[in-house]
């Protein structure tokens, strides 16, 4: 997880003063990461767009209270995104979305082969389906640690848990995911 660099700090300060354009730049910087985090947690591309936007709207509202305290800005955004996802699940607990119902997703790496692209989309959707079956904490650890590449320390900051607890969540999450997706990976 990259530290909040100086230019980002100044963008945050400007945004806190009400500079909407500065906040727009922060949005651009973190858009993909937050979208990806939400997508894997809800397994629905269309809703992930809406929730991404909602996350940033909430972030803007809460920005005056934001204090860096040595934590990266992104960890604060992830916490807001997590709350948005929790609200989403609470409101949609009866709305089970199957893989077939999910909308097409867009892959970051442009593929040369359409067939390869289809395969990749299927892989991502399968993974998202698998992740969506994990507990909320396990989902967060898997996404942040392996799909976003954050260190344990950084993940523990986002989850507001100690590193030991995060390690245990990671172990159980991988074990569960292995049981869900083990056959697919063989």
């Amino acid at each position: 997880m990259p530290d909040t660099n100086q230019s980002e700090v100044s963008l945050i300060e400007s945004a806190k003063q009400g500079d909407i354009d500065a906040f727009g730049e922060l949005y651009t910087i973190h858009l993909d990461a937050i979208y990806r985090y939400i997508y894997y947690r809800i397994n629905n591309a269309q809703d992930a767009e809406d929730l991404t936007e909602h996350t940033f709207l909430k972030a803007y509202e809460a920005l005056p209270d934001y204090q860096q305290k040595g934590k990266p800005f992104s960890s604060w955004l992830y916490r807001i995104a997590h709350n948005v996802v929790v609200d989403y699940h609470r409101l949609n607990k009866d709305n089970i979305i199957s893989i077939e119902e999910t909308h097409d997703i867009e892959l970051g790496q442009k593929q040369t082969s359409t067939l390869q692209e289809i395969v990749n989309v299927e892989e991502v959707q399968t993974l998202a389906e698998g992740i969506s079956q994990l507990s909320s904490e396990q989902q967060q650890v898997i996404i942040l640690r392996f799909l976003e590449g954050f260190s344990h320390k950084e993940v523990s900051q986002i989850l507001d848990k100690n590193e030991g607890a995060c390690r245990m969540i990671q172990y159980r999450a991988l074990l569960t995911l292995q049981q869900i997706l083990g056959d697919y990976f063989k």
């Binding site: 949005y27 979208y35 809406d50 409101l91 867009e106 892959l107 993974l127 344990h152 390690r167």
Partner: protein, 412 residues
Amino acid sequence: MKIISDSIDVILDRCITDIQTGRKGIEECLRAYPDFREELTPLLNMVVNLEDYPRVDAPDDFRGIAVTRLTNILQARSVNTKREVGSNNKRTRNKDDLKRASLFPLFQSNKRGFSIITALIIIVLFLGLMMSGVITVSASALPGEVLYPIKSQIEKIRLDLSLSDFTDSQLYLTFASRRISESSELLELGRPEYIDEVMNDYSSNLIEVLTILFESKTLTNQERASLAAYIIEELIFNQEQINIIYTRAPQQYQGIIKEALLLSQYGHDIVVEAILSSSVDTSITTSAFPGEITVTPTLENLLLPTDLPEINLTAFPSEGALRDPNIRRTAIPGLIKIIYPDWVIDPSLFPNGFVWPPAWPTFSTQYPVWPTGTVIPPTRSLPSDYPSDMPTPLPKNPTERFPERTPRPSRP
């Protein structure tokens, strides 16, 4: 083997970190922990698979408009917030002005000032009177009759027994209406000499009600709003009746009747003024998902029952909402405007005007929307049934209407 006492989660994490940083491959890790090979193998393979997964990014069409949409929404909200702040200031100023302009001697309710024993005595007395039938008989008593003092005492007892300012206020309004009925009856019976006393009592009751409305610290917002609506309705009715009394009363009593009429009119006006000068709360909340717009005005935003508000919402649809054919899109990219000019309140829902409006609207959409907007109250207009044949036109400045009145002493 390095630290055999480490638990599996610690060893797994150490291996993951080594693989992620490129210090070791899977096989090297497994060799370092042979006792855990079987358990670690699928998990480390899973980790490698996860990290090799194709990267998911936000779709291009979403990314293309995302920032513009967000900044549009934030700018609109910012404008709206400023508008709200402005109107809040206005509200405060108007309330202060109203308080300064008020000529009413606002005396505090001495409620809850009596002991439990006193209350018990009152209850016993009240029940005794009820059982003896005196209450029933005295209810129709008129000033100058033997039972009228009992009727007055019973009204005081009812006030003492009430446990809230809200109940008090309703009692005062009821008693005020009684005084008007009594005046009518007195005129019919050819006993106008008691009109002074009765009209004075009407005014005193009305002052108590208005005092509670504006000064009570215990009224809830809901109660205050209900009371405001009730006062308006009652006073319109009172004025019709007082007008008739005024025209039928001998000239020497018209002065006091006119004063009661003007007080009633003034009371009506300041309540209406307070309602209309209060800001309309434009706080519009949305649920996270699916979308829902709830217009939640403060209860002070209560409007005259005969008027209809216009709700003018500008909602920024989410991406999902943009695909909803039921939501109209304007020419402004990324914005929609929803106007509900035809929102009609069914008067039958609040026959007594007690709670108005019965509910503020909630607009549901299939997708989340991020709305901003305003609830536009109608321009001030008096109800169509407002008495038009007042003895004197209302002066613009309320302070010119009434000389300082001698307040009725507080209840013992």
